[in-house]
């Protein structure tokens, strides 16, 4: 999957979980609705959609679309 395809799928996924459209710069700092519950929902949804599993210690740090995308790209590499 190309980076742009990954980004687009993440934009759609985050938008669905957060309940409103997001852009590529979305993060817990910019999205007030990205709370602790939504964060776990996002993480598990990403894992299911992209068939990956994040380590426990990674999960809190994946706090932006960009970081999630970078982590997915590293996994695919």
């Amino acid at each position: 999957m190309s980076p742009s395809e990954t980004e687009q799928q993440l934009i759609e996924l985050l938008g669905t979980v957060l309940g409103h459209p997001v852009n590529p710069s979305a993060s817990r700092a910019t999205e007030s609705s990205w709370d602790s519950l939504k964060h776990i929902q996002i993480i598990f949804a990403v894992e299911e959609k992209f068939n990956v599993q994040f380590q426990e210690e990674e999960i809190p740090a994946l706090d932006s679309l960009a970081k999630i995308q970078a982590r997915l790209q590293n996994h695919a590499a």
Binding site: S32, D35, L37, K38, I40, F44, E56, E57, I59, A61
Partner: protein, 196 residues
């Protein structure tokens, strides 16, 4: 108050705060940044914290817990139920702080509601969140709780007054909240188990 109310979840537990937790409380509540911004500042002096805990232990209708992992790896945070009004079977919960990398949010909240409705037999439990603390306000929204009131200039930190958002859980909507929090608590527990 001095109590013996322990609650075990899937991956985390609540155990009563004691005087021996003074340094832990300072560690968790101290620091800077966003998390500390919405907390009442505390002294870094363990002796003063032990005095506070001693006074807390002598108070009635006030429950303070340490949030711990069931596997004993570390303490995750703090949480409490206080200002309990026996005549109304109502109380407030808060004093909630977790380590930045903790995954205990869902289950620690679930356990405190469980304490309220299943152990203390309360009819309602509310929380007051500084309106500017958007992620925590959103957390309570995500639990399915209604915002019943916005209290203008209600909470004071330092010299600044803040509006407070009040979320209320009653016996009636406790099942809804439980249905939101339990699945996530179970998912997290399974993940932590898999990675042992």
């Amino acid at each position: 108050m001095r109590h013996d109310l322990h609650l075990n979840g899937c991956a985390y537990r609540l155990r009563p705060v004691g005087v021996e937790d003074a340094e832990l409380i300072i560690e968790l509540r101290g620091g800077e940044g966003q998390r500390a911004r919405f907390l009442h500042p505390i002294s870094p002096d363990p002796a003063l914290q032990r005095e506070w805990i001693t006074r807390y232990l002598a108070r009635e209708n006030d429950y303070y817990w340490v949030v711990e992992r069931l596997d004993g790896k570390r303490s995750e945070g703090l949480i409490g139920i206080y200002d309990l009004k026996p005549e109304r079977q109502a109380a407030e919960w808060g004093r909630w702080i977790l380590r930045p990398d903790s995954l205990a949010a869902a289950e620690s909240a679930l356990l405190v509601y469980r304490a309220a409705f299943e152990n203390l037999q309360l009819n309602s439990l509310y929380c007051l969140t500084i309106a500017d603390n958007l992620p925590v306000v959103s957390f309570h929204d995500s639990c399915g709780l209604p915002r019943v009131e916005v209290l203008k200039q209600h909470l004071t930190l330092g010299e600044q007054k803040f509006d407070a958002v009040k979320h209320l859980c009653t016996l009636e909507n406790w099942p809804v909240l439980r249905s939101r929090l339990e699945p996530q608590a179970q998912l997290i527990a399974r993940r932590l188990q898999r990675q042992k």
